[in-house]
Every structure is written in structure tokens, then in C-alpha cells.
Symmetry: C2
Subunit: 270 residues, 2 copies
């Protein structure tokens, strides 16, 4: 089984090329692949499958979380996925549409970065979280998944995200991601994020969109481009009247082959 | 740059074959390789270098910690290293000596596991640690590096190792590893370990030796074979009058090639 390891602002992925959909990617195998000590280690798996849907360019991103469950979309993942298609000559040209469980998503590959369409974020109202015992006020935003984006005045390293922030279960019945966002200049913020089920991560694509929406709203704006610095690098979020876009790097780390003995070992079996 | 990823009881390593010693393995590159999101991810790097020393079988294990610093020896690492040499046909036969910074170390590869000579552990006296606010009494043991092995009566999941245990700085001027050890049968223990500088890990070869020494001592013995269950698998420690031996699995995960663009990127430069 061939693999590639890549990351986008240090949100990292194992890519499995499987054009003909021959791979039986059961949850336990995904979890073992993503295991950072017993496997390759990643935040998720991107399986590259050919599709004959008329709505996209012929490729479907089968995204799996590190625990083996499926997910609709992943903003950093789709950028990494798009770069892989181009690098491997599976597509030509810099603009195309990738199939995802959330529907077809537009992607644009340019020298300065890879841009993915993230959909229209929805502001749901205000909310609050207890972050390391401190109350932070924020904005509830849906970017497909639920976020609380909190604008803060202090340096972000003053906050403790080792423990999950406490959210009001009436506002977040299924939990949510919490972003701490600090405005550092004109249309520029820094962000730290605690992801539901994952803890603090070095980057989160939908979180960056939520951070930009909250910062824009505080500035009395609803469109425009925002630079979002995350611990793993720099992203740009562009808001327009109909959708949002995430731009950033996609880094190729390594390629190789999973060993047969590992794949056939008891701990990877169904 | 070719690499292999392997682990021994989930203590994981990036192996870099470099027979002619041509590789410039500077600390920042090692740290980036071991970075679990921006690189391949590992507890350490094992560079495979040819040597002309008469004391070993012609191969030197250049072991580096995940932060890029060098270390003398690694009990799980040398087992993984030995298996690699055999798999690649770089050595024939199941018994040989590997050069390390701690001197030549005997290794034995058998179907049931790979055994590495760990040296003579030294009991230094008693000591104590505060583990998540609870005082644990233990035995201070040197296995080349300093350990406090604490025999406990309770299930190991009752202890909190998310924060480093507090040691008496007069007893551990340079810090130390703390093992929580529970006897579960005749010559059998379970162990959890907090490694100095790394936090809780899924396995620690010298820690397993320290755990066996402490358990043997409590049983009024000083030699014999002890089964040591760690979160990442099962090890066997054999104590004799002159040295100690660590036996366990070595698992091949994957092989591949680091991408040139990653290697030449600014973040990996010296």
C-alpha cells in the first residue's frame, strides 16, 4: 500500500492513492495508520478515489478522522489533497472541483498557496466558554461544524488550553471548537484553537474561517481578506457575500510504502 | 533521503541508512524529522553507519533524541536497529554486537523477540516522588540513566502522570525517570513510566529494567526473567549476575523517501 505524508499549516495527513476504490479502509486500519507511535501518525487520512460525478473534476476526497470515523470536509485536508492531484499529474490546470461528503468544493492552486472553498459561515449569536477557569465571551459560528470564536485582548500564550474549554451545553449540544482570537493589525489576527475531540491543534481550517468572521464582525465588516496566524503557520480567509475561502500552504513531507507485515498484523485487522 | 519507520513496544524511530556516514545530521533536521506534525514523527532517529571498530560487527547506532541531542543508548532503539540490519541483509546470523556511544552492546535476534544487552543496573538506595500529589516510595536505580522505580498496590490507571512527578533534587540533581510498577503475578509486573523531558511514554527500555530490578529486589531475588507489561506491549527483562537483557518485538511500519522540497525548505535548514 503506497502512502504520502503531507501537511497544511501542520495539520497533517496520510494520503492513500486508491483511484479504483479497491482499498478496504475500515475504521481500525485508519486509526492504526493515524496512531502517532504504532503507525504513520496523522490527524486524518485522505483517500484519493476516482469518481464519475458530473459535479466535480473526477476525484473524490474520502476524508477520515484519526479515530476512523468519516467527516464531511476538512479545509486543510482538501488543500493538501488538491496539491497531491496536481503533483501526481492526476489533474491538469490550477482550478478544479473536488468531491467531498459535503458536496463538490472549488479549489484553486496558485504559486502563493492553495485555496479551498469553505462554504458560507453562519453567525448564530453570542456565547461564552470557560477557558482554564477564565470566562471568554465569543460568537457562535457554524462553518459546517460548530465554533465559538472569542476575541481576546491578551497575548494568546496567557491562556491554558490543555483542558477542554467548558461550553454551555444548551448552546453546544454536541460540543464545539473554541478559537481564541487576537487582532494584531489591519485585517490580521492570531488564533489558538481547541478542537472538539482532539484538544489543542496547530491549525484548523474551519476555525480560521470562524476567527475571521468574528474579527470582521467586530470591525463592522462582513467581506474581505483576513490573515489568520495559527501555531502551525499562516492562513488567509477571504469572506464574500456567498461563501468563504481558505488559502495556505501544502507541504510534501515523504512518500513510501506500508510494510505488508504491519498491514497483516493482528492489531490492524478488522 | 531514504527512511524506515519502526517501533518497539510503540517506542518509535525513524531509521536513516547512511553506511558511508555521508549524511549531515544536524540537530534541527533531527528535530524536524521527529516532529509529529511537520515531519515524520518519532521518539528518536537511528542513523545506520558502518564502522571499522574491532569491538563490534561493523555497524554503529548513531542514536538521537527527538530534540536533536545525542544519547548513549536506547534499549528499544537497539532492538529495532538490529532487526533492520538483519532485514536488509547488512548482517547475517542472529547474534552480533552493535556499536553505541555507551560502547559495544550484544544483540540476539530470535523468532520470539530481539534481545539487547542493557548493562548492569545499579541500586543506589531508596527515594520518593510526588505523583499527581501522591507520595510514592521507590528504589533509585541507575541503568546508565537515573530511575525511581516505585512498587504500588493499586491499579496503575489510578495515577496521574500528565504532570511530571516531583523528585528530590538532592537525590536526582539531573532529574530522572519515574516508573510505577505493580506486581501482577509470579515474575510479572505492569509498568507506567514518566520519562524525563518526554512525559509519559508507551514504553521505556531502561525503565523496564529498573522496574524488574525493583520487583526482584522486593521478592528477595537478584537474578531471573521478569515480564514487564508496558502500555505499548510486552517486554521481558532478564537479570543475571553481571548484566541485564531486554527482550521484545520490533515492528516494521513503513519505508520511503523524504521529499527533496521538504529537506530543502527553510524550516529544516541548519
Amino acid at each position: 500500500m503506497r502512502f504520502a505524508k503531507r501537511h497544511g499549516t501542520e495539520n497533517d495527513f496520510v494520503i492513500l492513492p486508491d483511484p479504483d476504490g479497491a482499498l478496504d479502509l475500515y475504521p481500525r486500519l485508519v486509526a492504526r495508520l493515524c496512531d502517532r507511535r504504532a503507525g504513520l501518525g496523522a490527524d486524518g487520512v485522505l483517500r484519493v478515489v476516482r469518481t464519475d460525478s458530473a459535479a466535480d473534476s473526477g476525484w473524490f476526497m474520502d476524508y477520515r478522522n484519526a479515530d476512523g470515523s468519516t467527516a464531511e470536509m476538512c479545509g486543510n485536508g482538501i488543500r493538501v489533497f488538491a496539491r497531491y492531484l496536481l503533483d501526481k499529474g492526476m489533474l491538469a490546470g490550477g482550478e478544479f472541483t473536488v468531491g467531498t461528503r459535503a458536496g463538490p468544493r472549488a479549489v484553486r492552486v496558485e504559486p502563493g498557496g492553495i485555496t479551498a472553498q469553505m462554504g458560507m459561515p453562519e453567525v448564530l449569536g453570542t456565547g461564552r466558554a470557560s477557558v482554564g477557569g477564565r470566562v471568554c465571551e465569543g460568537v457562535r459560528i457554524s462553518v459546517g461544524n460548530p465554533h465559538l470564536a472569542c476575541l481576546v485582548d491578551e497575548p494568546l500564550d496567557k491562556f491554558d488550553l490543555t483542558v477542554a474549554p467548558e461550553l454551555d451545553p444548551r448552546q453546544f449540544p454536541e460540543g464545539g471548537n473554541v478559537e481564541l482570537v487576537r487582532v494584531i493589525g489591519r485585517a490580521a489576527v492570531q488564533m489558538r484553537v481547541h478542537e472538539r475531540g482532539s484538544g489543542e491543534t496547530r491549525s484548523c481550517g474551519t476555525g480560521a474561517v470562524a476567527a475571521a468572521v468574528a474579527a470582521a464582525r467586530a470591525a463592522g465588516e462582513s467581506t474581505g481578506a483576513w490573515r489568520v496566524g495559527v501555531p502551525g503557520g499562516d492562513l488567509t480567509v477571504t469572506l464574500d457575500a456567498h461563501t468563504s475561502w481558505l488559502t495556505g500552504p501544502a507541504v510534501i513531507v515523504a512518500e513510501g510504502e506500508l510494510c505488508e507485515s504491519w498491514l497483516s498484523a493482528a492489531q490492524v485487522r478488522k
